[in-house]
């Protein structure tokens, strides 16, 4: 392989038709590298059962071999610059593949482990008086729906009105710039800090150790409002100005223009952004641990101040994993996986519905 480079490199590769690798060659090299890698691993694995074959390591070595092969071949056949180009192409494509692996792995492990307990018991029982096997997460599912629903009721009006202020009234003045900046910063507030904030407010009124569903909802809205503001602001901004001006020209007041013209035009996009915001915060765990607490019972009253703990799905997963039942820890883990799968299904459904709404109900405007 290295023989030709020693002498023939003297010829300056100046012509425009200087050797280029044929079009499909990267794929061929990739296949070749994988074959070599798997052959090596198969030889090393000879004698032991096929299941012992380390597929992950073989794929990894195959990728490394591919990157080396493609660089060396291109260095020989093309030029150093093209070799660098091909090397970077290979590395960048690999980065994308690497990022997809955890997603596939998470989905696969959660589905395969969670299906075991996706039975009617899981969706009709709470954990009250359940010590070993059995039991379910109906209290956690209700808790998640109630807390997240309350959070949505609090944060959607505030978030929507704020975005209306930013787009329609702010006109880029200093206050609206400040609000935009702090909303952006607020998207990065850790959920546990939001939980601590709400807890320290409520201890002043109710004394230490207070746990209530509404506290979780308030902490969740601290996290959710910025996401709603950002999403609906973007949607309001793409409403064409001609629509507003046409409405003003007919003598319609500004507030009626916003309600009758701007909001109906952008309602599909706003609904989508709200659904995505809910999907994003429904899995937040840390603040719920501090504000809503842990219970084995079904508790539907979010405003009860004594024994107000509610279970929620993320906390249920955390609790079953961290503090498994002593008699049968496997049953706890199975419940944790099943609850994780339930949570994942809810999140994915919200995502799909949200994106579907904007796809099917978006007003037919010819772009901006």
């Amino acid at each position: 392989m290295t023989a030709p480079t020693t002498e023939t490199v003297v010829v300056p590769p100046s012509r425009i038709s200087t050797g280029r690798l044929p079009k499909g060659s990267p794929w061929a090299i990739l296949a070749g590298a994988m074959v070599v890698s798997f052959a090596i691993f198969a030889v090393m694995n000879a004698g032991s059962p096929l299941a012992d074959l380390n597929v992950a390591a073989a794929l990894f070595i195959g990728m490394v071999l591919y990157i080396v092969f493609v660089y060396v071949l291109s260095l020989i056949a093309e030029s150093r610059r093209h070799a660098t180009d091909r090397l970077m192409t290979a590395l960048i494509s690999t980065a994308f593949v690497i990022a997809c692996l955890p997603l596939v792995s998470v989905l696969w492990t959660v589905i395969s482990n969670g299906l075991a307990r996706m039975d009617p018991t899981f969706f009709s029982w709470s954990m009250r008086n359940v010590i070993g096997e059995g039991g379910g997460a109906v209290h956690a599912i209700w808790g998640t729906l109630i807390v997240t629903g309350l959070a949505a009721i609090i944060s959607v009006p505030i978030g929507l009105m704020t975005s209306i202020y930013l787009v329609e009234y702010g006109n880029g003045n200093r206050l609206s710039k400040g609000i935009t900046f702090f909303v952006d910063v607020m998207t990065g507030i850790p959920s546990i800090v939001a939980g601590l904030f709400i807890y320290s407010v409520f201890t002043i009124f109710f004394g230490p150790g207070i746990r209530m569903g509404i506290m979780g909802a308030l902490a969740l809205s601290v996290l959710m409002i910025p996401v709603v503001v950002r999403g609906s602001e973007e949607m309001l901004r793409i409403v064409p100005n001609e629509l507003r001006e046409a409405s003003y020209a007919l003598g319609v007041p500004k507030w009626l223009t916003i309600i009758k013209v701007v909001l109906p035009t952008s309602i599909a996009g706003i609904t989508t952004s709200i659904m995505l915001a809910i999907a994003r915060v429904i899995g937040e765990t840390a603040h719920l641990l501090l504000t809503v607490g842990v219970t084995a019972n079904l508790q539907m009253n979010a405003f009860q101040s004594d024994n107000g703990q509610m279970m929620t799905l993320p906390v249920f997963v955390y609790n079953e994993f961290m503090y498994p039942s002593a008699s049968s820890p496997d049953a706890s883990l199975e419940r944790a996986w099943a609850a994780a799968l339930t949570l994942l299904i809810i999140v994915m459904l919200l995502n799909l519905i949200g994106r579907g709404i904007s796809k099917f109900f978006a007003p037919k405007t010819s772009g901006r």
């Binding site: 609000i179 910063v185 409002i225």
Partner: protein, 327 residues
């Protein structure tokens, strides 16, 4: 209220000022939308005030009666946790940044245009996975998957001169080490970093790219000469936003690690530094009295650090006026 009325006045033409009629509906609507905006600022300020007020008994109070400190100075209690937070977050950042830039380049400049939207959606799906699911996956599957690799690492590069500061044994038998936590964190911060990088890469002036290509640059040379210099600020702020997320992430670290308040740089051993957020999550449920204040005080430190990181990142992004700031 005064600000809303000032804004149109400032923009009104100087001569023949035609004042719009003030209707009650208008006033109510503009007032309530302004109020909503101000509520957000108040919430942010209240977060800082309440955390500070609740922290004072822990920092200034008597450490001997404090059930968590037990006579220890508050700062010597909090600093190891701050180290654990920064250490795991910086590791995650170091792992995720090159990959995020790679993905963003792949979507913006390598993938076929029709495929790019789908690929972006796949990365957004990663952001939708709840953190507790990542924690469960990291603790029960990923750590076991990585453990053999960790064992190999300690046997090989763990004995090399400088690298043994980080990779030396004895290797953790469960694989639940700070490196595993950092890897899980890096998966969780990939989507936001990718989203920001992708957006700035797409904003590169087309003429710059075409000029580079017309001069005979290969695609990588075009990216290096036209795209990356243009996007440098955006990449930095994307990385800082990712850092902010990693600093505050609680569940992945809590569930993957069984940490302790130590300052250690070893990545693969069974003794690992704990992060602030994980420490609060573990000890808050049974904390009482001034112990709660102590945990809130550590939370205040976390709030200040994440606030600063996020504010600087947003400031860098906002200098680019046309940037939409999605996410």
């Amino acid at each position: 209220m005064s600000t809303t009325e000032k804004a149109p006045a400032r923009q009104a033409p100087p001569e023949g000022s035609i004042k719009a009629k003030k209707r009650p509906g208008d006033l109510a609507f503009s007032g309530s939308s302004l109020g909503a905006g101000i509520i957000i600022l108040i919430v942010l300020a209240a977060t800082a005030v309440f955390l500070v007020v609740q922290s004072i008994p822990a920092i200034a109070g008597d450490a001997d009666t404090n059930p968590i400190l037990g006579g220890e100075n508050f700062w010597s209690y909090a600093l190891p946790f701050l180290f654990g937070t920064l250490w795991s977050a910086l590791l995650a950042l170091a792992i995720a940044s090159p990959i995020a830039i790679g993905i963003a380049l792949f979507i913006s400049h390598y993938a076929p245009r029709r495929l790019a939207a789908v690929l972006g959606y796949i990365i957004d799906l990663l952001a939708a996975v709840p953190s507790v699911v990542f924690g469960l996956w990291g603790a029960l599957f990923f750590s076991g998957f990585l453990q053999p690799f960790f064992a190999t690492l300690t046997d090989t590069i763990g004995t090399w001169p400088i690298l043994n500061l980080f990779f030396s044994g004895p290797v953790s038998a469960t694989g639940r080490t700070v490196l595993t936590a950092a890897l899980v964190l890096s998966v969780m911060i990939l989507p936001i970093m990718t989203a920001i990088c992708r957006e700035v890469f797409l904003q590169t002036p087309k003429l710059h790219e075409e000029a580079a290509l017309a001069l005979g640059a290969t695609r990588w040379e075009m990216i290096r000469m036209a795209v990356l210099p243009f996007a440098r600020g955006g990449m930095v702020s994307g990385a800082m936003l990712g850092l902010g997320r990693a600093l505050g992430e609680t569940m992945a670290v809590t569930m993957v690690l069984s940490g302790s308040p130590i300052v250690a740089f070893q990545l693969l051993q069974s003794g690992n530094p704990q992060s602030i957020a994980a420490n609060i999550a573990l000890h808050f449920p049974e904390a009482f009295d001034t112990g709660v204040n102590t945990l809130i005080a550590t939370g205040l430190i976390l709030f200040i650090v994440t606030f600063a990181v996020n504010a600087v990142a947003r400031w860098i992004v906002n200098r680019r006026a046309e940037f939409s700031g999605a996410n």
